[in-house]
Every structure is written in structure tokens, then in C-alpha cells.
Amino acid sequence: MEHEQPGALEGLRVLDLAGPLGAYCGKLMAGLGADVIKVEPPEGDPMRRWPPFYHDRPHPERSLTFFHYHLNKRGITLSLEKPEGRDLFLKLAAKADFIVESFEPGYLESLGLGFQNLQQKSPGLTLVSITPFGQNGPYARYKGSDLVGLAMGGVLWLGGWRDRAPMALGASQGSVVASLFAANAAMLALNYRDLTGEGQHVDVSMQQCMAVDLETAMQNYDVHGAVIERGGYNYPLSPIQGPGMRRCYPASDGFVSILPAVQRIDEWETLLKWMDSEGMAGDLMDPKWLDLLTVRREKEHFEQLFEAFTRSHTRQELFEAAHFRFPTQVFLAPINTAEDIANDPHLEARGFFVEVNHPELGAALRYPGPPFRLSETPWQSHHRAPLLGEHNRQVYEEELGLSGHELRALESEGAI
């Protein structure tokens, strides 16, 4: 049934020229029904060469990372370096609502394809530019990568162990977040166009996207001139946020993560009662442990007792007791692996994962389902990522009206 409801972005056309930094932006738009055409150079997007590969066999049509970030997009090849390629690009741009790109600032202008030129031809077009540092400023032309974005944006400083180098978040969060903010900005531009008919240039900086991720580190410096250090075992949260203790503890079958007292003292009391109900609270029932300042001062003692407690249970036992045994919930969660998530009964009950057919692999692959569920315009996961140049014929012949002869000529010139 879901397939019959239109997406919120149905009827909008996106030319997606973005590399890995911006790949998730187009995916989000495709998920809500926009016609997103991935425009790759003839040699293919670099992400096609990123591991992991399907059944571990490296091949440009088997990158699982590429699959994930290009679900639901169509794909064509086009060389902007060739004049014929640029002509085709302009024809495509005339029919597009958005162009998403992550080239170095100034590159499109140098080809005569800058925002001014594009807008003259189609005033409603929005150009979404995603770069490591933004379009202007002294670092605008600096090279970036996910890790460099995390470093320059201040979030890397806060991650990891005191006795080792600062440590990055897993799963390319710099690019995911930059793409996500770009998608927000694109939607703001769309709402603006709904009111005025005009497109605009959206300029996203990955560095700034990471700079909004600093919790209270920015304000602590602004207010106190204090630099929050990375945590080692301890989470660098401000004093009133509970006892500021170690976050991750071993269970009998993996790890759990806990925030012992965030909003109210009864969260903490519940945790102590829970340990006591199993005879594992040690001396923690002494009233002095209800003073969070005591806890902060003597947290290693608590941590030792709590670790002995968590070690004596599975993650599932801890999770269920934390959330269902007492009137107040304890904020404890299992540190899940991909396998745990794949077999999670809650996600199963919600029908979260979706199957997408890959005829070339002779298989249907499972993918994460919707990041959010819209009741009227549901998320769509209809078709796998495009093969390189898969829709050249569809787009160039059927939509732009090129003849088969012209198409072959363009191919042999390396324009597509």
C-alpha cells in the first residue's frame, strides 16, 4: 500500500554530482520521492571503490557503502571536463530543481557552470554546495575529509582516551552530518521557492556542521575560558548533570552504556535500589550516596561495584530490568553490534528493515528502513543503487531526445 502514496518530494528533480562528502543528502531526498539522478564521471564515483564489498569481492558494482548511500537514485555518467559534457549538463540543469555538488569551491565557475550562470537559465534552480570548509574564507580551498572535518570542527578533540590520540566517531559521521544539514538547507530553499519562485545557492561547511556537535564545550570556553578535555573513561559533562562517571561497562555477553542520573535524583535512587535488590549494592545504601557530590568525589568506588553487578548479567537482562522493573526507568542500554540490531525483536515488530532486489547479484539485500516515518508521504526504498551509467539511455535518449547515434558519439568522445 505504501508504494501508492506519493512522496513529499515527488515531482522534484535533483542532479546529484556530490562525492562521498555529500552522498547522503541526495539519498534523503530520494527517500521522500524526489527523482535523484546521480551524475558520475565516466570512471565512476570514488565511493564505488570503498569497502566493504558484497561477498568481499572488490568491484565497482559491489561496494556496500556505495549501495547504502545511493539507494533509490538513478545514475548517469557525464564528464564536465569535456565541452560536450558541459552542454549536456546545462540541458539537464534546465529541467532540475536542485543540483547537489561537493567540488572544490570555484570549480563549477571555472567551467562556466557557476551559480550565476545556472540561475540565469533557470531562476528556480537551487545549487547545494557541500565542502569541507565552505565557499569563502582562508581555508575554503583546503582539502578535507571526514576525519579532517571532525578535527577542525572541534569534536575530535573531545573523543577517546586520555592516554591515546583523540579518536573519531565511527561510520563517517562528518560526511553524514554535512549531508544531513545540506538536506535541511535544500528544504529551506524549497520552502523559500514555494513563496517566491526563486532558487538560491546553499553553501554548507562540514567544519561548521561538526562545530555544532560540541555539547557544552563551546559554552564552557565562552563563559569560563575552560577547555573540556577528552574523557578517557569519564564523560566530560557539566557538573549538575549527575555524577559524571564512566559510561560503558562490561556485561556477561558484551557491553552496556548507562547515564546514571540525568534529570532527577530518583533515577539514581532506583539504580541503587536495583543493585541492592540483588545484594550487590555494597555500602551504597548509606544515605551519603544520595548526595551526587559525594558520588562525584568517590565515583571509582561506585564504578567498581556497578561493574561487578553488570558483569553478572547479560545485556538483555540488564536492559529489561532497567526499563521495566521499577516505576522510574534507569537509562541503560546495550551496546549493540550489527548482529544484535539485525535480530532486534523491537525493530522486527516495527518492520524496520527492508529488502531491496539486486538482480545482478542474484540476491535481495536487507537495508535499514526509514529514518523517520511520515504518515501521508512515506519513505521509499524501491530500487537499488544505480549501476555505472545505468540510466544514460533513459535520460539522454528518452528525456533529452538524443539519437542512439549521438549517444554513441558522446560515449566514444568520453563525454559520458
Binding site: 513529499a8 518530494l9 569497502p51 566493504p52 556496500l64 547504502h68 569563502n136 582562508p138 581555508y139 583546503y142 578535507g144 576525519l147 569534536v155 575530535l156 573531545l158 573523543g159 577517546g160 582516551w161 590520540a165 579518536m167 573519531a168 565511527g170 561510520a171 544531513l180 535541511n184 528544504m187 520552502n191 523559500y192 513563496l195 545557492h201 546553499v202 554548507v204 561548521q208 562545530a211 555544532v212 560540541l214 555539547e215 564545550a217 564552557n220 563563559v223 569560563h224 564523560y235 559510561r247 547515564l259 534529570q263 526499563h323 537509562f331 542500554a333 553490534t337 550489527a338 548482529e339 539485525a342 523491537h346 516495527r350 536487507r366 523517520f372 511520515l374 504518515s375 501521508e376 508521504t377
Partner: protein
Amino acid sequence: MTAPLEGIRVADFGWRAVAPIAARMLAWYGAEVIHIESYTRLCGMRQSGPFPPGTETSLNTSGFFNNFNCSKLAVTLNLATSEGIKVAKGLIKISDVVVENFSGGVMEKLGLGYRDLAQIRPDVILVSHSLMGTSGPWRRVSGHGPNVQAMAGLDHITGYPDRDPIGSGVSHTDYTINPHHSAFAILAALHHRRLTGRGQYIDLAQYESVINATGPMMLEYFANGRVPGRAGNRHPAAAPHGVYRCRDENTWCAITVFADEEWQRLCQAIGRPELARDPRFDCLECRQANEDALDRTLEAWTSQRTPGEVMEQLQRCGVAAGAVQHAGDLLTRDPQLRARGHYHYPDHPEAGRRAYDGPPFKLSAAPARVERAPLLAEHNDYLYRELLNLTEETITDYIVQGVIA
């Protein structure tokens, strides 16, 4: 100048991080966002620091709260009273978007579920941001960002392979992934409503939202039966790819090399052209096979220099490198953020001039509006007198009865 969300009103029932941050995106771009709070159930953020010295007992000066609630209006209303619910419905009737992040099921219990709201305001867009979504066996499980990160697998793949997980330095998904998945969905739904006149219900389960941000990990398991683990700062398609010690204590620089040409340039940049011909390092697979030796070689060079010198010298040769900056660097030294105007310093009657994050992007035709955060209850008069046209008598009664509280 037209703002993208001119004429849009948002009732923000959110507290703490996710829903208020989603609503902040709308406030930056012209929506009138009314943040509903209550003295009887204070948002913990108002009680969390950092506070400017001497203002620790104020509910209006938390840097944590203010940064997330800039450009909004603030009112107090006690939803634990039936009159409070009636007033809330009055506000919803004149709102376009309603956001909330109670635990799953709480809004229904209050009589403010989507069905109730759609009767009052048929084209309303209601957005829930519970941890687990509004269905499923664990829908009542509540928690915070770090719990979500753990469940969605991010903690398991963040860290070093030879050590236990440690979590992340910040509650990352609270400030980025979840609120901005939500804001994206809201903005798309607003566009759809302009075209069709139809509102809708958006159920964002934070757990599911974050799994989308760690997606390739899931495909690796489903397709290859392998469970990805922690890889430190390394990357499967790059080498070197790491964080290297610089000259002074606790100073670091990130360096990443994906293509072989970049490696060649790096060797030139550090004055070691012979390394480019070293068979241990002349292809990605070779560099990955010898990554410990590679990292030691590079660190011998970085440890003689400051992060700024490393960055500039490598960037001059087109190699991606960046100083590991802390918040003080960002606020006071980084010339790029200054040129971009990332921080805003609106004056606040109790907190003074404090730094606020602006949006991490620019729209050429629609500048953002970054205004100071509201004081608790600052806009009660505006809501109750101007918008809802309540009589003086009713307002007095509500105050006495603890409804406006």
C-alpha cells in the same frame, strides 16, 4: 526580505535536546517557535551549566539551554492540569507544526495524540521523537542520546580494537543526526502541505534514525555475515588516515590520504621524496599492510611541528590535513570560522553577550536569524493575551490554579 518559513508557527513541547534543536532550525529561518515549559517540570537544560559566573541560580543563563533555544519565544503552561491541556489545544489550533519528545505514548495519554490534534487543526504536522517509536514491544523505553548511540551500534564501532568501547565524547546524535533528520522531514512535509493542504504525523524513532547514519555497518552484516568492530582512526579506503602527535603536549593533527597522487604529494611536502618510491608504501594496499610503520614515519615528522604548521605545509601541497582544534581554538583563533561568521553574540539581559552557534550553512537569498534565547515565561503575555485572547480574569484564574505555571 522573505524568510523561508515566514508565517509558520511551531508549538515546541520538546525538552532537553532533540525536539528543541529540530525546532531551532525552523526558528533560525523565520518560523515563530513557541517553546512550552513549566516551572512544575523544568527542562533540565535550564539547570545545566555552564552559567556565567554569579548567575548559577538563574533559570535563564544556561549556555546549554540558550544555545539550543535561540530565536524562540518561551511560555509556561502546566500540562498536568486539564485546563492546561485545553490551553495547549488552543495554541495547537493556531500552529502549523507541533514537536514533542516525550516517551512513546505520553502525548496520547494527555489527549494530544495525532488524532486529537487533527480534529483541532486538520492540516497540522505533528512530530514525535521518542527513543523507540510509537509502536513495538519497547515503545515505552525512555532514555537519552548516549543510550541511542549504544543501541544503534555507533558505540560498538567507535574506539580502538584493543580496548573496550568508551562511547563518544559528546552525545553526538542528540545534536546532529536526530534533530536534523526531524527538521528535514518537517520541512519536506511543509512543502507537501503547501501543495496539497494536507498535514501529517511524523514518527521519528531515534533508534531507527541513527541506524540510518551507521548504515554500511548493517549491510556488511546482512550481505557478508560479518560484524564490524572498532577501527580507531583508520579507514578502509585510505592510508595514512590518522591523528598524529605534534610538538607540544596534547597537540594533534589529522591527516588523510585516499589517492596515490596524494601520497606522492605528501612525500614531497614532508621532504621525503624517496618514500614515494618505497615499495612498502607505493599503493593503498601496501600502505595499509604497513600502516604501523607508515604512522611512525609520519609521526616522526609531525612531532617536530605545531598542528598549524603541519596543516599548512601539507595543505600547500594539496594533502587533506587539519589541526585537532578545541572549542577555544574555534571561538578565538580559527580564521575560517570567523570569516564564515559561524558564531553569533546576541546580548541577553541576564547572561550578557554569549556565543551561540549559527546554522552551519548559508542560504544566499535567506539569511538566518540568530537571536538570544528567551527567558522562562518571557512571552506569556504574548501567548495568553495576544494570541489566545484570554480575559484578564481567566489569566488570573489560571495563574492561581497553577495552569499557567
